[in-house]
């Protein structure tokens, strides 16, 4: 929840009290989520739905940021993990009649196995290919979802998946929001742990300079592989949250458009900071809702945003704003 959690690098040996301050910040973050959820649930069902969506997409975007922002692997097939988890969990409960506690882990496992297969192929190639090959592989899954109607329901997808029962059924929009908020908080904390671990540090090194990492003794492809498995796991969690939100999964959960959207969310924040990806997801969902209420040309607007970001803010919106702000402050300082 707090950008300062991201500020590695500036750490000097801290006195004891900072450990406590970190706990305080963490508590503040959790309290923030609780407040937002509470506020939303008093406002009626539309804001609740919107916030639930924001949290799910934020989780999804953060998982992609592990690859794009931290490891420097631009993936355009991230919807594959989101969709596979949702389809697998849905199939488990529909065809095999498994309960939530079995279906959900199976779905996550399916996402991780998909990531393993994809990356054993995609990581063999040079970095420039990664975007292209992940796109091609994800497109294959989408195509199977559309054409294998017996299994996947084709374009109609799979519907009628009941929400999990935790103590009581999570049927109401507000009670499901609580569930998603909990899942989000736990996942986000886990991801923060990952990026601040020795492993996360190694990922940043690979992003910055892979040959040097190899010269230092890192078998870099192993790190890239594990990073993609972890990213797939969290993307899968987001996918299942989405599945139980709608009680439905269709080919759009595997589509390139979704991969492109989540990549744009990462860019609309700041690649390489989980917090930024979260903000990006929130901005994206709100923007999409506003634009769609005025025009049908959302796809065009999204394309235009991509073009603008590529030209002017390839590192993301937050770094761009920070730079503007610094320049503005300098010019003001220079005048006085």
């Amino acid at each position: 929840m707090n950008p300062h959690l991201e500020a590695t690098g500036t750490r000097v040996r801290r006195p004891l009290w900072t450990d406590r301050s970190r706990t305080i910040r963490l508590l503040a973050a959790v309290a923030g989520i609780v407040l937002v959820v509470l506020a939303a649930s008093t406002l009626g069902s539309y804001p609740v739905e919107l916030i639930t969506q924001v949290l799910i997409y934020a989780l999804f975007a953060m998982s992609l940021d592990l690859l794009v922002g931290y490891t420097g692997l631009p993936s355009l097939g991230h919807s594959a993990y989101f969709g596979v988890a949702a389809y697998a969990a849905a199939l488990c409960s529909l065809k095999l009649g498994l309960p939530f506690w079995c279906a959900a882990p199976v779905g996550l496992l399916a996402a991780v196995v998909t990531a393993l297969l994809f990356n054993l192929i995609a990581l063999r190639t040079a970095r420039g290919y990664y975007l292209m090959i992940t796109l091609a592989l994800a497109q294959v899954l989408w195509s199977i979802a559309v054409s294998w109607t017996d299994l996947t329901g084709g374009d109609n997808g799979l519907s009628g998946i009941a929400r999990p029962v935790i103590g009581r059924p999570l049927e109401g929009a507000a009670s499901y929001l609580w569930f998603v908020a909990l899942v989000f908080t736990v996942s986000a904390m886990a991801m923060w742990r990952i990026v601040r671990s020795p492993f996360g540090q190694a990922l940043k090194g690979i992003r910055e300079n892979e040959p040097r990492m190899r010269a230092l003794g890192y078998e870099t492809w192993r790190y890239k592989l594990v990073a993609s498995l972890l990213a797939a796991l969290f993307a899968g969690i987001a996918g299942e949250c989405f599945l139980y939100l709608n009680g439905f999964v269709g080919p759009s959960s595997l589509a390139v458009a979704l991969s492109a959207q989540v990549l744009l969310m990462v860019l609309m924040g700041a690649a390489g900071t989980l917090f930024g990806s979260m903000i990006g997801a929130a901005v994206f969902v709100v923007l999409q809702n506003i634009v769609s209420s005025y025009t049908d040309r959302w796809l065009f607007v999204m394309g235009a945003i991509y073009v603008l970001f590529a030209l002017y803010a390839p590192a993301g919106a937050l770094p761009w704003l920070r730079e503007r702000w610094a320049r503005y402050r300098n010019s003001v300082g220079g005048n006085t």
Partner: protein
């Protein structure tokens, strides 16, 4: 027997459309180091423009020519005013072309609507030709001939002309070409436009076969990515061989396992990447 013959011919004619499309992609990558995500858009726009022109004029060749020229101009503008500003920045370039992909897709949907449409075949190539006990569409046979012709022409252009020599040198070493006093930005724009034109041509040739519809841009772009990955980025010869592999794999795959369409098309890619990560003709 006729199952094999028909599917092999189907695969070959599809492969030729793929080749014309992928040749443009691989050429652009070889020289400009850009993975053009919007390559499929050029295919789709080319097909749609040809469709409109043919409907208005009833002339296939006129449709083909106007589609190629229009898309080449579009490509030149896109390269000159946006892509050129991101020279050698790999990820922003990909994101930029991705943005254009969405914009073009929405534009095409707006203008031509969401219903699948077929580009009319040229009148001479309507009907079927009988041989070896089968009746086979004349247009598909012609496609095979056209694909081979394009391959030969491209090869002659790259190997036999001065501009081809410049492009080949640029693929090896941009600095050297610059030092030779050649206007690199102009060559870049020209090659990008040429690549876009090839994609448009692919769209016109493939239009009567595969149809034009929203999402066709993604579908063919994905197949073109597979082809250039298998062939080795930057290699025309590789793209030709890879088109044959992918085209045939896709056709027989769809014939045998319709539920797993596209899956068989990427099998050549998986095998090639496992054995030779830089592609069949790629430089290691």
């Amino acid at each position: 027997m006729s199952f094999w013959l028909i599917n092999a011919l189907n695969g070959l004619s599809f492969a030729m459309v793929l080749f014309v499309l992928s040749a443009g992609l691989t050429l652009v990558f070889g020289l400009l180091r850009i993975i053009n995500m919007a390559h499929g858009s050029f295919y789709l726009l080319g097909g749609y423009i040809a469709l409109s022109v043919i409907q208005a004029s009833d002339h296939f060749m006129l449709g083909m020519a106007s589609a190629c020229v229009a898309v080449m101009l579009l490509g030149a503008a896109m390269q000159r005013w946006t892509l050129a500003r991101l020279h050698k920045q790999e990820l922003p370039q990909s994101l930029l072309t991705l943005g254009f992909l969405f914009m073009f897709a929405d534009l095409a949907f707006w203008i031509w609507g969401g219903n699948p449409q077929l580009v009319p075949k040229p009148a001479v190539l309507e009907g079927a030709i009988r041989f070896a006990g089968i009746a086979y569409p004349a247009y598909r046979l012609a496609l095979i001939g056209i694909g081979v012709l394009v391959a030969v022409l491209l090869w002659a252009l790259l190997e036999g002309t001065r501009i081809g020599a410049v492009v080949r040198a640029g693929m090896d070493d941009e600095e050297m070409v610059r030092a030779m006093g050649i206007n690199i930005p102009l060559v870049f724009t020209a090659v990008f436009a040429f690549g876009a034109g090839l994609a448009a041509m692919g769209g016109v040739l493939g239009g009567p076969l595969l149809g034009l519809f929203p999402g066709a841009d993604f579908e063919v772009a994905m197949l073109a990515f597979v082809v250039v990955t298998v062939g080795g980025l930057g290699s025309i010869r590789g793209a030709f061989i890879a088109s044959l592999l992918v085209g045939l794999a896709d056709n027989f795959g769809t014939a045998w396992f319709p539920q797993l369409s596209l899956f068989t098309a990427i099998i050549p890619m998986v095998i090639v990447l496992a054995l030779r990560p830089s592609g069949l003709m790629g430089r290691a």
